[in-house]
């Protein structure tokens, strides 16, 4: 077991615990940068997809994991980010300006929507955002002159500092772009959690009443959280648009919203790691299933029978098992395993046991 010997108060708020932890993450980053030379093009594309999902997961994590506001409508913000990015580029705005602008725009729209949504909490907010996500589909169809409606929009590649970045033409450059954005967003997230704003997010999540008593402006905190969350989600949406190359009103359906929320639950709510773990599960599950199905049909015959809804059925079952047996998600499981080895003979079974709680109504006092 490593014991960090603290000699300075700054050590408590440093983003990393000690040099060992920092070097582990630097090695991870180096491997990620070198990935194009280690993987073939297909898996590189899948990895890019995972990173994009991770960015979207980080966006939702701010809101759901750290501020405690469940949103079932983040696909709407993915759509806003994606469409505004492409529309700006079509208007001749260079990518390097259009991309941040798309995120900012999504953030502003998100914060504006948050103002009426502030009066809602818990389940009502989830419903509000769910309705938003359903409406987004129709809004895109109705504003056809701008969005292209059902026919959708296409984007081939973008120019960044003289380089053409294209999902199919230059997948390696596209991967590095995604990786750079992921790293920037993650660093920003880590820093956010060290600021008073980030701490007030967590205070609001744990108890609104106590946060208010401690002088946290709940309305402002929630609005800012919503805005930041939507901004990051907007960036993820813009990248998704570039990744898929073509999209229309059905690309960002309610199902994507639900998938996004489930992803961060599987990964582990309230941790940055969780967004990445969840993205890996979401990104590789379809591939894993199709490979598994091939193997099964090779053994039992039957050829490649398409079972509609299989992916979602399996996904639902995984999620049910997680919520029942590992509510802290993959990251929680990892923490337990790590603690087991760090404390080796002294780990006890109920070290991470949750405190028993009893539910009280939100209706009536």
């Amino acid at each position: 077991m490593r014991i960090v010997f603290k000699t300075d108060y700054m050590q408590d708020i440093r983003p990393w615990k000690d040099g060992f932890q920092l070097s582990l993450y630097l090695i991870l980053l180096a491997i990620a940068v070198a990935a194009p030379y280690l993987l073939d093009i297909f898996y590189l594309g899948e990895l890019t997809n995972v990173l994009i999902w991770a960015i979207a997961g980080l966006g939702l994590m701010v809101l759901t994991g750290h501020t405690g506001q469940a949103s079932l409508g983040h696909a709407a913000f993915l759509a806003i980010g994606c469409y505004s990015n492409v529309i700006l580029i079509e208007q001749g705005v260079p990518f390097i300006i259009a991309f941040p602008l798309a995120g900012l725009l999504t953030g502003v729209i998100g914060a504006t929507i948050a103002i009426p949504a502030l009066r809602l909490h818990g389940i009502y907010l989830a419903i509000f955002t769910l309705a938003l996500s359903i409406l987004m589909d129709d809004v895109i169809v109705l504003s056809e002159p701008i969005t292209g409606g059902v026919a959708g929009k296409y984007i081939a590649g973008v120019d960044l500092l003289g380089l053409t970045i294209d999902r199919w033409g230059t997948p390696i450059l596209f991967y590095w772009l995604t990786l750079a954005i992921t790293v920037i967003v993650t660093l920003g997230y880590i820093n956010l959690l060290r600021t008073s704003l980030g701490r007030s997010f967590i205070a609001v999540r744990d108890s609104e009443v106590s946060a208010q008593a401690m002088g946290v402006d709940i309305a402002k905190t929630k609005t800012v959280s919503f805005g930041l969350s939507c901004m990051v989600t907007g960036w993820a949406g813009a990248l998704m648009g570039l990744y898929s190359g073509a999209f229309n009103n059905e690309t960002f359906s309610v199902v994507i919203s639900i998938q996004l929320l489930m992803m961060i639950v599987i990964g582990g709510l309230g941790s940055i790691h969780g967004a990445f773990f969840g993205a890996v599960v979401i990104g590789f599950l379809p591939q894993f299933l199709s490979i598994a199905k091939e193997n099964v049909s090779a053994v039992f015959g039957g050829g490649s029978v398409a079972i509609p809804g299989l992916e979602f059925g399996i996904f639902g079952m995984i999620l049910i098992l997680f919520i029942l047996f590992e509510p802290m998600g993959l990251y929680g499981r990892w923490l337990k395993i790590r603690t087991f080895f760090e404390l080796f003979p002294f780990y006890r079974k109920d070290m991470f046991k949750r405190q028993k709680s009893y539910l009280k109504t939100e209706r009536l006092r």
């Binding site: 009426p116 938003l132 059925g313 996904f315 999620l319 049910i320 919520i323 009536l364 006092r365």
Partner: protein, 291 residues
Amino acid sequence: MENLQLLISGLANGCVYGLIALGFVLIYKATEAVNFAQGDFMMLGAFVTIGLTNTEYMGLPFMVALPISIGLMALLGYLLDRFVIRQMFGESQVAVVILTISLGFVIRFVAGLIWGHNPQTLQNPLAGKDLNFGGLVLGMEDVAVIIVTVLLTTVLFAFFNRTKLGLAMQASSQNQLAAYYMGIPVKRVQGFIWALAGAVACIAGILFAAKGAVDPNTGLLGIKAFAAAVIGGFGSLPGALMGGLIVGVIEPFASRYIAAGYSQVAPYALLLAVLVFRPHGLFSQVRVKKV
């Protein structure tokens, strides 16, 4: 006349929404959890009944199949509570929401495996019969839907407000710990309410399948019923029915009088408006939280 016709068909549709919403509200009222899989329960109930009655499956007489399928769905509701939902006892609402959404995925998958993905209708004795009131044509199914819904809502309303068990359910949702102290078997009460919700979902499913076709994705109708429950105010049984009727009536009128493309937006736009201006529904039960 045309408007009246629209109104009647809207009311019949609204009753189905109202019945699903009733299932939401039952569970919410008694356990403070929201069952996002209620729409899928309804779909499953419809398919179980189809499996029992339709000639290409088991071909039982309609009146025999009816209680069996309602009983089966009630049993399923109870078992789900016993083995899945009860593990979540005292956990946050959002965790339960995610759990029930994924349950819905699983139910849809299983139903698709068993009954396939083609739309099917329920063969029932009322099919194809009409009532004619001086030019106003009513399908017998529509009439049956309206009658059953009103009856069911009245009975459930009386049950919650008049009987000891109903009061125990309300008490156990308002404060689990205090309910324990009062000697209420909170867990058993929860199991009972899930069984009841399963039965109500099955009735809704039967009515829906008698009126039109069901396929595994019909469960997504639950979202519309959800809007209904919220518009009426979660936690109020008459509110749920009212919300269902409002959504049901708005739909045909919107598609008749508003330009195509805008009409399907109407229920959700109404939902957003209600949430913004009356956040806890028309029949609100929420008070400000004080310390």
